[in-house]
């Protein structure tokens, strides 16, 4: 059974159809890069996968849990599915340690001593162990985003969603965040990334999905999709982002 199964997913905001019959399966260990113009439904699809957005049609099944069913146990699901946002969304009133350990303590009930160890462990993975007692506003954007990744890793998810996580960063900081992502990928994490970093997608993704007008327009191996677009829409899009 696939880790993620989207079947005929329809998402509307009012009369505006954002996802129009989207179907996709993601296997364990896959790294999917989702590309496309703004407004093509990329981020919405990601948000439907962990139930942040309810869907109007079709089914979303993640790790055997039907997210789209009324009364789905979203709380349990979200312990297994991490998401990192474009705007980091760290909690400004909490230290880096507390940001990371809040959910493990409250949701999983781990004790404070173990919690600090857990925080240190995930911070090492993103190269920020020395910032454990800092507050978010003392960190650069790139560091904040790495803490956000660490916070998500601390829940030991089976699947991680990344929603344009480098779009708010300048190129220098983008590099440090992508390096962390690459390392998480190398550890075997299943990942779905919405991204505009084509070089990164080509290097790391096992599959690239191109979305257009709320549909999956093209998908396939990273190299073939990015180098040999079959549709004029993808060709135009690649032309625009690569130059």
């Amino acid at each position: 059974m696939s880790l993620v199964e989207l079947k005929g997913v329809v998402k509307r905001f009012g009369t505006n159809t954002v996802l129009d019959d989207v179907s996709m399966n993601v296997e364990r260990g896959e790294i999917i890069a989702v590309i496309g113009r703004s407004g093509s439904g990329k981020s919405t699809m990601l948000r439907c996968i962990n139930g942040l957005e309810p869907v109007q049609g079709g089914t979303v099944v993640v790790d055997g849990e039907t997210v789209s069913a009324p009364g789905a146990d979203l709380r349990a699901l979200r312990q297994r599915v991490g998401i990192v946002f474009q705007s980091y969304n760290l909690f400004p009133h909490l230290s880096v340690e507390k940001n990371i350990t809040l959910a493990p303590r409250v949701v999983k009930g781990i004790d404070p001593g173990t919690a600090r160890e857990l925080a240190l462990g995930v911070l090492r993975r993103v190269g920020l162990a020395e910032k454990i007692d800092a507050y978010p506003d003392q960190l650069s954007g790139g560091q904040q985003q790495r803490v956000a990744i660490a916070r998500s890793l601390a829940m030991q998810p089976k699947l991680m969603l990344f929603d344009e996580i480098t779009s708010a960063l300048d190129p220098e900081l983008t590099g440090e965040v992508l390096k962390v992502l690459e390392q998480v990928a190398a550890e075997g994490m299943t990942m779905i990334l919405v991204t505009h970093e084509m070089g990164f997608a080509r290097r790391v993704a096992t599959r690239v999905v191109f979305m257009h007008q709320g549909r999956i327009w093209e998908e396939g191996g990273a190299r073939e999709v990015l180098e040999k677009p079959r549709t004029p829409e993808l060709a135009t899009f690649l032309d625009a982002v690569l130059h």
């Binding site: 709380r75 979200r78 959910a103 409250v106 829940m155």
Partner: protein, 217 residues
């Protein structure tokens, strides 16, 4: 018979100011409890609760405080058949009134925290109550201090309306003193000075608290 305004009158004014403070404290505690409930209802994901909270606020804010004092003082004996003292009536009316205003202030503070903060909590598996308690409220409290103290200062001054149902507090005592001494200017300057002495430290305290919370995040 008209007598001189003397030290003893200042003493009586200060005694009356105790009742101003006592009524304010009761109304603030009662109003705080109502306010928390109203604010939570207003941000809850359940429409009926939101509507009920909004209805309470609209009804209370749409009728003058004076009206509520009359409703509870004269209305309770007629509608519920219970005689209430001016103390009880004033406490209920002021709590009712403060609850609506504090509820609105606190709702605004909760809603001032970006939606993404709720979402980040939800994405980590926190439930609604946990998001509220660990993520939203700690941030909202800091925003809430200045308007809450501002309202408390208003409340101190508004308790003077309690006089209409026979509640003797600072302003009413001032009127009585004036009737006896016929020194309106002196008497009301004294009354004003006492109000100022009660309100000014509060605004200072608010500033200190704000600064402290900013450092402690």
């Amino acid at each position: 018979m008209i007598r001189e305004f003397a030290a003893i009158d200042v003493y009586y004014l200060l005694l009356a100011a105790r009742w101003t403070l006592a009524l304010t404290a009761l109304a603030f505690v009662g109003g705080g409890l109502f306010g928390i409930v109203v604010a939570l209802m207003r941000v809850s994901p359940f429409m009926p609760l939101r509507a009920l909270g909004a209805a309470y606020v609209n009804v209370v804010q749409g009728i003058p405080l004076l009206g509520w004092l009359f409703v509870f003082f004269f209305g309770l004996p007629i509608l519920a058949g219970v005689q209430v003292s001016s103390w009880v009536a004033a406490t209920i009316a002021f709590s009712f009134y403060a609850g609506a205003f504090l509820g609105e202030i606190w709702r605004g503070c909760l809603q001032a925290i970006p939606r993404q903060q709720w979402e980040a909590g939800a994405a980590l598996g926190l439930g609604f109550g946990e998001q509220l308690r660990h993520v939203i409220v700690p941030q909202a409290v800091r925003v809430a201090i200045p308007p809450t103290v501002g309202f408390l200062v208003q409340l101190i001054k508004n308790t003077s309306l309690g006089a209409v149902i026979g509640f003797v507090e600072l302003t009413r005592e001032g009127q009585l003193t004036n009737a006896a001494t016929y020194r309106p200017f002196t008497v009301y300057i004294a009354v004003a000075a006492i109000y100022f002495a009660m309100c000014f430290p509060l605004t200072q305290l608010s500033r200190r608290l704000e600064r402290r919370l900013r450092v402690a995040r």
